[in-house]
């Protein structure tokens, strides 16, 4: 065991290749297998919606807080969704103190793009009074334990938290013109699309699903595919690295579609058990 540990440290690539030769990975998974995913919703009562997602060791908590704002000038009937991914020092010893690193910023921007393009929630639904008042949904995703595949975990946590959001009813007082919030009457959001991400790494012309942090470090490229519940693509993200053939990309997409079914089943079961209580 100790010898294997030493081999792993000194020759990580060779160590990893030996596993792949046997069609498995150091943690015992097959190449196309995701880690065990667990979801817990509504654990943070100070947030309007929250979810904790564990993907193997990777842990992401998403809390959504709703606030009032004036709608943007150019589209007066829209609200805002502001995603933010935070990789604090506590999630891994690889991050350094200071302003948000490149990875955190790239992940935030990726989330913002997917939310914008997939139209998971219509921004018109967030408008309360045209040109006067709208909801802002601040979606903060904090990584608590970093072990690779941040995007999949963030996307899953975001979707689960969004399903958990309960917004209070708002009415405008005719006399004073001020907004009145009725905390007793709460309604869930209308979710139009359910984007779910699946990430892959490229290693020696092999496609490996749901990488751990160790695997991400060894990989020569990554691919992330986001699909909705009808199997339509919401995003394809391949940031450089080693090249990929079209056929391989098709493999990624079909795996992403099956992954969507797995996640949807998990979330549906969770929502059903919440309702039963």
């Amino acid at each position: 065991m100790a010898a294997a540990g030493g081999f792993r440290t000194v020759e990580p690539l060779e160590y990893y290749r030996r596993f792949l030769k046997e069609n498995c990975r150091p943690d015992g998974r097959e190449l196309g297998e995701f880690r065990t995913t667990t979801v817990n919703v509504g654990s943070i009562t100070t947030a309007d919606g929250s979810a904790l997602v564990k993907l193997g060791n990777t842990t992401v908590i998403c809390g959504i807080k709703a606030e009032f704002a004036v709608p943007p000038v150019d589209s007066s009937n829209k609200g805002y969704i502001v995603p933010n991914v935070d990789l604090p020092l506590l999630c891994s010893s690889r991050f350094r103190p200071g302003p948000p690193g490149e990875e955190a910023q790239a992940a935030s921007q990726f989330m913002a793009d997917v939310i914008e393009n997939s139209q998971v929630v219509m921004k018109e639904d967030l408008c309360i009074v045209d040109g006067k008042l709208a909801w802002v949904l601040y979606c903060d995703m904090i990584c608590l334990d970093y072990d690779g595949n941040l995007l999949d975990a963030c996307m899953c946590a975001f979707l689960a938290a969004l399903k958990n959001v309960q917004l209070p009813a708002v009415s405008i007082n005719e006399e004073t013109g001020l907004a009145e919030v009725n905390l007793k009457e709460k309604t869930p959001l209308t979710i139009r699309k359910e984007p779910v991400a699946a990430s892959f790494i490229l290693f020696d012309s092999l496609l490996i699903v749901d990488p751990t942090a160790e695997e991400e470090d060894l990989a020569t490229g990554t691919v992330t595919i986001v699909t909705d519940e009808e199997g339509k693509l919401c995003a394809v993200h391949k940031p450089g690295g080693s090249t990929l053939t079209g056929a391989k990309l098709q493999d990624c997409i079909s795996r992403a579609v099956t992954r969507h079914k797995e996640v949807k089943k998990l979330l549906d079961k969770l929502i059903k058990s919440k309702k039963a209580k």
């Binding site: 100070t46 060791n57 842990t59 807080k65 604090p88 020092l89 942090a213």
Partner: protein
């Protein structure tokens, strides 16, 4: 404070506790795999997560690092969704910088830093939900995380707050009681030797009352010590059972 009765005539508080009673404590050690030590702790509705890395080589500037002992590096942050009003900055503002400093000072008093010269111990605390006693929850969670990391300490560090209201000392204040603005004391105690690691009182209180408030906080800390000790023992028993198969 009028209109909001923090202490009923029968001696019960808003959440149904008696004056010296603690909120329910739930804790787990070893929650994360890649950190050297980690712990999750709930005190009532306050939820804190502590992660410890180290002792490891010094990082960053060596200039301010002490020579003969380990550098204790703390960061306290609050999730943006942890409070009723969304926080703009999770860390780096004055309140959390002060809290980070308090944590550092508390644990410098308890850790055997002289055993690890020229090295660094990182303690990171994240508050996920805040309902009063954030400092105390942070200290208690960090103690469990340090124990999980196996870093030698003089003793547990148990922290608890206490307030003073209508001639009664209240232990372990929640947010409503804190926000009412009465005198409030935070105490971090090494319970075996009854040494005080940190004591902070930020309001006017007649000095004749101080012993009673301090006494209430001390009692609460000793009670917390028993609870934390039970968590540690249960964790060790489970870990030993796993190792022994």
């Amino acid at each position: 404070m009028a209109g909001l009765e923090l202490l009923s005539e029968q001696g019960f508080r808003l959440d149904g506790r008696r004056a010296g009673e603690l909120r329910q404590l739930r804790a787990r050690m070893g929650v994360f795999a890649q950190a050297d030590g980690s712990a999750y702790l709930e005190q009532g509705n306050t939820k804190a997560l502590a992660v410890v890395y180290g002792p490891h080589e010094l990082r960053g500037s060596r200039g301010k690092a002490p020579h003969a002992q380990a550098l204790v590096n703390c960061q306290y942050s609050m999730a943006t969704f942890s409070t009723a009003e969304r926080k703009r900055r999770p860390h780096g503002d004055r309140a959390s910088a002060e809290m980070s400093l308090h944590l550092k000072q508390t644990f410098e008093a308890a850790l055997l830093t002289r055993l690890f010269p020229r090295s660094q111990i990182d303690i990171y605390v994240q508050i996920l939900q805040a309902d009063g006693g954030n400092y105390c929850a942070a200290v208690n969670a960090a103690t469990l995380a340090l124990l999980d990391a196996g870093i030698p300490m003089r003793d547990y560090v148990c922290a608890c707050s206490a307030g003073f209201l209508e001639d009664t000392a209240l232990a372990d204040l929640n947010y409503v009681e804190e926000a009412a603005g009465g005198p409030q004391l935070a105490l971090a105690l090494l319970p075996q030797a009854q040494h005080i690691a940190l004591l902070e009182l930020n309001a006017r209180l007649h000095q004749d009352h101080l012993p009673r408030v301090l006494d209430a906080a001390t009692q609460a800390c000793r009670h917390l010590h028993a609870l934390l000790d039970r968590v540690v023992r249960e964790h060790l028993r489970d870990a030993a059972a796993l190792l022994g198969k």
